[in-house]
Symmetry: C2
Subunit: 457 residues, 2 copies
């Protein structure tokens, strides 16, 4: 089906709480209308899961659950939406009436944000009247695929930085406004220390970070004058960009200003290098700062960084206190999508399974049981039916997060981030390395295996 709507309102085109319900693939609404007309609105369960790891990834990080649940909780089809849908001359009046009163009333279970998970474990299970569960597919996938992608990518830079700070510098290359916000959120979950994105700071309470651009330096008659102006204007947060003209001359100017600040009772917080041989320059800059007594002045490195460059620079002895990572982090450049899917696994008639090659699904509601070795390191997961008993001592990873359309899990971003930090620390060493190839073991339970075989036959 292909239908043209009324004339467009041009301009920015914001997604708002009033219109986000229409962020849906048309076919979801068409199927929902048909289900309604055919009396097919029994309870169904859909599982959201990733079939296989993206290239260069050895684990995924849960992120976006809170965002998704907040959407589900407030989802409404307002007057404008109903008017637009009616104008498509596609839907039944009965369905439009249904949408006018639409509320998501289902239950959800999820792997909490900040946890590590592995394909094909469900990240989220939705149990609801079939129409409700169907209509939210696009929005759930759009929300979770992206935040999982960024958190999983950012975790790699955080691991590579071995305790040093990693800051999200991605807004100018993120895919639009919402991506910039959610990239900051997901990166913070994964352990980034802050973001340059002020709106993410306001909406999520993420620490905001920034220095100055080369154009600032170039707007003054010389570098020293620019540094002095910035130190005067921001004495408690002076980080000077020293590579506009010549990095060693830049650090000399920064040292001059650092001395002047010290005389005035202030402190030069840091310098940033954004181009050239960052490893060699950072070592020379560190030596110069130390020789001048500015041992506490930090060094920030940026400029087309990713986890590989961070690891390489540190292996070569770079002197860095923090890294700014932009494009690669926000777009997950080496794997710019996560292939999460949302599949029917159970309905009022029983278990459901899809058999197509490469697109097979596992039937039924599930639980993921994670085993740990005595040191607390995960040693393998068991993917089971939700009502199978778990192995002794294993931890269930899916927990109830929404009941009858209301969130029953509320966590601060700081708690989530703390969880992720602990999980990354506890990861088996071979999964922490950047090189590909290590595989974490996810086994199917006897119950799930038997059910699948029975349904295949």
């Amino acid at each position: 089906m292909a239908v043209s709507g009324p004339a467009a309102s041009p301009g920015f085109g914001y997604v708002t709480p009033d219109n986000v319900a229409l962020l849906v693939d048309l076919y979801e609404l068409a199927m929902a209308d048909s289900y309604l007309r055919n009396g097919m609105n029994g309870r169904a369960t859909f599982a959201l899961f990733v079939r296989s790891l993206p290239p260069s990834r050895e684990f995924l990080v849960s992120a976006g659950i809170e965002t998704a649940l907040a959407c589900l909780e407030t989802l409404r089809f307002g007057d404008e939406a109903i008017r637009y849908l009616r104008g498509l001359h596609l839907f039944s009046e009965q369905f439009l009436e249904y949408l006018r009163d639409f509320r998501f009333t289902g239950d959800a279970r999820a792997v909490p944000e900040g946890e590590v998970f592995f394909p094909p474990e469900p990240l989220l299970e939705i149990s609801a009247p079939r129409i409700e569960a169907q209509i939210v597919e696009t929005l759930l996938l759009n929300t979770l695929n992206f935040q999982v992608m960024v958190a999983s990518k950012a975790a790699r830079s955080v691991l590579a930085a071995r305790g040093r700070g990693v800051v999200d510098f991605s807004p100018r290359r993120d895919h639009g406004a919402d991506a910039a916000l959610k990239a900051a959120r997901a990166a913070y979950i994964a352990g980034c220390t802050g973001t340059s994105n002020v709106l993410a700071g306001m909406l999520y309470g993420i620490p905001v970070v920034g220095t100055m651009a080369h154009s600032y330096i170039m707007s003054f008659s010389d570098e020293l004058e620019a540094f002095r102006a910035f130190a005067r204007d921001f004495p408690t947060n002076t980080v000077l960009l020293i590579d506009t003209y010549d990095t060693m001359q830049g650090v000399a100017n920064a040292i001059t200003v650092g001395g002047e600040m010290a005389s005035a009772g202030a402190r030069l917080r840091g310098v940033r290098i954004d181009s050239g041989d960052l490893t060699a320059q950072s070592r020379a800059v560190r030596a110069a700062l130390d020789a001048a007594g500015l041992r506490e002045t930090q060094i920030f490195l940026s400029g087309d960084l990713n986890e590989y460059r961070i690891a390489e620079m540190l292996a070569q002895g770079a002197a860095a206190d923090a890294f700014g990572v932009g494009t690669e982090l926000g777009t997950s450049a080496d794997a710019p999508s996560v292939g999460g899917v949302y599949k029917l696994v159970e309905d009022e008639k029983g278990y459901r399974i899809k058999l197509s090659t490469g697109k097979a699904t596992l039937p039924g509601r599930k639980q993921v049981w994670r085993r740990h070795d005595p040191e607390g390191q995960p040693s393998g997961d068991l993917l089971a039916l939700h009502d199978e008993p778990g192995p002794p001592g294993a931890t269930p990873m899916l927990i109830p997060v929404m009941q009858a359309g209301r969130r029953i899990l509320s966590e601060s971003l700081v708690e989530i981030r703390q969880r992720c930090t602990e999980r990354l620390v506890a990861l088996p060493e071979e999964l922490k390395h950047l090189d590909d190839g290590a595989a974490y073991h996810v086994a199917l339970s006897p119950g799930l295996t038997a059910l699948r075989e029975r349904m295949r036959a």
Copy 2:
């Protein structure tokens, strides 16, 4: 500088007209505050341009200008934003007062949406008081980098489809909600015929397209029953997904339903194949439909498509009327960012230039002159200073689009799309091919060359 804000409001975190002004890298605001304190708010011009083509691209398509201008026109720092910024204990009260009254009052020149452009031609030039021009950098780059990326990627599928329809199926893999909207918009500009995204349909008037999912078929006791239900519920827009179980049995069922529809005075609009060997299946399905007299029933192909697969399938004789393209289109998977930058080129003191290796800029406001051969095919561009005379008969590509903060260009999306279609048709053949390597010639004018040499020296 790194500053923590107040506690976060959790949840979806929407970007709205009231808060979009804070979608800015912190350093833009810090620099702006410093400029204000130091009386440095003279008129400046910044150019937004792409330094070099992304991998596998031979041209770029202008997109996002309207979105960006709508933002500039309405940009405000509301009470919540000012409160948040004050709480960072970073900015001067003078600057916060300035932001409270902030309006963008500048001028803009741009390459209209739908035009083809080439690095390093400016896509947009902003002339405004320095602080205004500086503050909008992040938002402009975030908006334009993404829409240019998608339009340039989508144009490749449109060219590969050689007149057949290409539909945006990307929402579930796009990077968040705004990306899904803007991907649909940019893809439509590039010539896509529609989108699955209902919200994009409502906000931009883009035709919305959809069929059904495999789960719909599986929700009925058999395929034929599912097809009949759908045809009954959507008699004017019946497109049946025929590959859930077996494509040839699927088309047989579709033919049965098509016959029943014909008896009732309706028509089976199309069938969709989403998996397997699309080329071979589409030919067999076409033959079966034709043999049954359903010559007007169209065939839609989908499933991990991109421009290469479309070209390959058509070369092998696939029978397709339209293609659904998702992940690859919305994330521009082979080149998931466009490296647009925004650089100072002129201020109250004169021309400005940046000399760093790999990051050099060209000074001054500019004009791009495009020459055409007698057949109307672009034959090379001349990048000149804005006040240099252009070559006889050449077309100036940058036109005024905003004056004193108000848009002076208003185009419908349909007009923009029409322009893009014409430009893609007129492209030199070697740029239309998917293979890499052809290069369109962009020359520097004598005036620009001389100015650059003078400033380098």
